[in-house]
């Protein structure tokens, strides 16, 4: 193999200067509910997997898929790279399945009041009214509330929980499930493949363009409750869809694990945007495998916002498989006290005339650690490929840390590749300028941060942007003191 350009850099930076000691006001949800209808005991075994599959009344191939995945999970070593320590996860102290109610709810009226109370806290009903879109809100392992706007149903758009999708569209699911993220891809993908529950199944028929975003709220709501949702999105030829997922979780003192797998397939000419805002409680390991295939002239956009969690490891990937396909990853990460955000993106060019863009922004504060970890790969012989990577980081104080691990592997001399990275802190002059206009220091800091991530917040629907801004205000406004 003739590698014309291999670039591998690692920069570590931390700021010596500290403006003022900062304290943190955490954004916590205090509500939680504990009345589960079915809840398995903690721990993982073949028997647990068989029970999950039986409870869901799954076809045999899915049970086999689960059991095979479980074997892979047991064999695979825990990754030792990354900024956090994954060895701390105690798999036997996690509940692998719980359901609040066996049947799905389509109308808000039917949703149990305890669940409503929790959702009220994060504004789901409001979002539902505002968006008029289908809300698939996942309460622990199963979708309890699922409603699709009539428009989607008329157009033939399928938006179901993954479990329902498996029942109603077995052929489609069998064809694509595990085709983008193989069951032995990584330890956590194997775990998910073995014990998955819930998540969304979306199919958009040929030539159907959906402008209203599809939304799903996810939520972990029990101590030591693992959440292993599985999402599969297929956009058929020349279709278009925007899928939005928002997560918040109540705080618990014991460790919790979220290991999701998201598989996205954009067939010829299709466009898929997948937006996520996650705000996990800071005791949660958030280990997600997100991957997309873009076929001829297709477009994939990952918009990914990571707040909270103890450790997030997430690198949305795009395989540009077809000629003329395009991929874009836009992400922000905020790492606060006791939090590590190890996030990034991967774009693999496998065809001519393909374009990839990665924009990553991170903010580290109160000792938080953030890392950009990315991969751009362009194969030999490909014509007219372009790839741009831009990562910007803000360090709020000297206790915090930011690392950049960009890997760029280009085997094609004509490829246009650029990589840009900056690390800075909130400028004293900018701060003074805003303060000279009567704006208090903490508010001025917040405004600068909101400006820094505006490239991201402009790309998400207004309601989400408002919620994101509110979270950031809470995070930063009381932090200067």
């Amino acid at each position: 193999m003739n590698r014309n350009k291999i670039q591998k850099t690692s920069t570590k930076s931390s700021l010596k200067t500290i403006k003022k000691a900062t304290k943190i006001e955490k954004y916590n949800f205090l509500y939680s509910t504990n009345n589960y209808k079915v809840k398995f005991d903690k721990g993982l075994s073949e028997d647990v997997i068989k029970r999950i599959s039986k409870h869901k009344n799954e076809p045999k191939w899915m049970l086999d898929f689960r059991l095979k995945s479980y074997k892979k999970f047991l064999k695979k070593k825990t990754p030792t790279w990354g900024v956090g320590n994954l060895k701390e996860i105690d798999y036997n102290n996690i509940t692998y399945f719980a359901s609040i109610d066996s049947k799905e709810n389509k109308s808000w009226k039917d949703v149990p009041s305890s669940v409503k109370k929790t959702f009220d806290r994060i504004g789901v009903p409001k979002a539902e009214q505002a968006f008029l879109a289908g809300v698939g809100a996942q309460y622990d392992s199963e979708v309890v509330y699922h409603r699709i706007k009539e428009e989607f149903e008329k157009k033939g758009v399928v938006f179901l929980s993954m479990d329902e999708g498996l029942k109603k569209y077995p052929k489609l699911v069998k064809k694509y499930f595990g085709s983008v993220v193989p069951l032995d891809d990584n330890k956590f993908a194997s775990l998910n493949s073995a014990v998955w529950s819930g998540g969304s199944f979306v199919y958009v028929p040929k030539n159907v363009k959906v402008d209203t975003p599809l939304q799903a709220y996810f939520r972990i709501n029990s101590a030591n409750m693992g959440q292993f949702e599985r999402t599969l999105i297929i956009a058929d030829k020349n279709s278009k869809i925007h899928y939005i997922e928002g997560c918040t979780a109540p705080k618990y003192s014991s460790q919790s694990l979220h290991a999701a797998v998201v598989e996205v397939i954009a067939l010829e000419g299709a466009t898929i945007r997948y937006s996520t805002i996650q705000n996990w409680a800071n005791n949660i390991y958030n280990l997600v495998t997100k991957r997309a295939f873009a076929y001829k002239n297709a477009t994939i956009e990952w918009v990914d916002g990571n707040l909270g969690s103890k450790l997030t490891m997430k690198y949305p990937a795009i395989y540009l498989k077809g000629e003329g396909s395009r991929g874009e990853v836009l992400s922000i990460a905020i790492a606060s006290k006791n939090q590590m955000q190890d996030a990034g993106a991967k774009i693999i060019h496998e065809a001519n005339n393909t374009t990839g863009t990665i924009v990553s922004k991170s903010i580290s504060k109160d000792g938080g650690v953030s890392a950009y970890r990315g991969l751009v790969k362009i194969g030999a012989g490909l014509k007219n490929t372009k790839s741009n990577v831009k990562c910007d980081a803000i360090l709020m104080d000297s206790k915090s840390k930011t690392d950049t691990y960009p890997v760029i592997i280009v085997d094609e001399p004509t490829a246009e590749v650029s990589h840009e990275a900056t690390v800075g802190r909130i400028g004293e002059e900018q701060l003074f300028y805003l303060m000279s206009r009567g704006i208090e220091e903490s508010k001025a800091v917040t405004l600068i941060i909101l400006g820094f991530i505006s490239e991201f917040s402009k790309q998400i629907p207004l309601e989400f942007a408002v919620e994101l801004n509110r979270l950031i205000e809470m995070e930063f406004e009381n932090s200067v003191g």
Partner: protein, 256 residues
Amino acid sequence: MKKLLLSINNLSVNVEHKKILSKFKLDIKEQEVHAIMGPNGSGKSTLAYTIMGHPKYQVTSGKIIFKNKNILNLSADKRAKLGLFLSFQTPLEIPGLNYFSFLRNSYISTYNKKISVLEFNLLVKKQTKLLHIDDSFLSRALNVGFSGGEKKRAEILQLNLLNPSLAILDETDSGLDVDSLKLVCKSINNLKKENPNFSVIVITHHKKILDFLKPDFVHVMNEGEIIKSGDKSFANNIEKNGFTKIIDEYKKLKPK
């Protein structure tokens, strides 16, 4: 009798341990316009930043009394709330911060009162019209991609909205064409008419702005102090003869 608005006494200021202002003195009454001229590096901008409360400028002695209050321990935002305003020589760019949203935040903070977006929009639109600022600026990021002149007019828009008691104009005229300069000065003269305690400190290198603002006093600064003051006609003298003669005369008279 006009009330004293700002009184600076015996003010010495260090920047990164270097002395820039030395036993500086200046009194400004309500409804007065003071021009400050002087060679580059004489401490004019330092004076402006120090009055506004930039943390980099360390006051080693003296007092700044504004509206009968010693403001030296106040942060910049508190000084702004008291009625001080600085029009920056080089306004800062803040990527991603929407100009309109910045204006509204600054208005709400300064006046400590809520104003709806719609209501505020009306206020702002009135100003953009007066200052010939295209409304599209309001949806752009603060000062990002603004030309030099646009930045300066944007500063005056803020000045008009915040309506302070004392405006410090740090080389507001640089980068402005004659028409823009006229607009800006007209707008400042209006503030003076409408606000009975409004006063201005104009820091400038050019007489032109003084033709429009008609200062009551013209001061020349050198090496961190005022070395000579006069009335408006003094500016003509400076423009004709430069600073060298004034500085030399002062040095001869100054007791060692």
